[in-house]
Subunit: 113 residues, 2 copies
């Protein structure tokens, strides 16, 4: 996906659950994550149907304590996607997703720092 770019970390790896192939472009204090669907039930298949040219799928913020961040946001009315329990993310750390309708249409991911 970006292996010939100078800043691409070159590690293209598949995540069979949830069904995406990812690679990261490392910038200063920020990473750009390139995603492609993996398998028939990829969670990004619907996004690509709606956005055939691709686009920005989500933005991820690191948080110091994912459970307290989750509980605080839920108390303020944000809906947590799935069963509310953190899953393992692409960096081997717990992640959660928040409902885009509660964030002006933007899909937000939280990752344990």
């Amino acid at each position: 996906m970006c292996q010939d770019w100078p800043l691409c970390n070159g590690k293209l790896f598949p995540l069979f659950d949830p069904g995406v192939t990812v690679v990261f472009v490392d910038l200063n204090n920020t990473k750009v994550e390139l995603l492609e669907p993996l398998g028939d039930r990829s969670p990004i298949a619907k996004f690509l149907e709606r956005n055939p040219d691709g686009g920005m799928h989500h933005v991820c913020f690191e948080v110091d304590d994912i459970l307290s961040a989750r509980d605080r946001l839920a108390a303020e009315g944000a809906r947590i996607l799935g069963d509310g329990a953190p899953k393992m993310g692409a960096h081997g750390k717990p992640v959660l997703f928040l409902h885009p309708k509660d964030f002006d249409g933007a899909l937000i991911e939280l990752e344990q720092a």
Copy 2:
């Protein structure tokens, strides 16, 4: 838009050209820019038509030299939007936008650091 959030810088200001009202949420090394249309000819009106719930409009990268970054990207085949000359952005610094079709559907902004 976010004045009651802890990290919102609270400075809501209008940009009549191009026609958006913006406010920034300052994070560590990153800013989230909230945009709403201003006037009848706002450049984000079409985006909101296509995305009635809102969404992520663009991502901006700071570059050390916007003209050399532009020329390098153009030489690699990326299309620069508009007439190719940097315009004044929301921080009073020169900015340029790149064609989303050349970046997997993502609208990319460059800003002079």
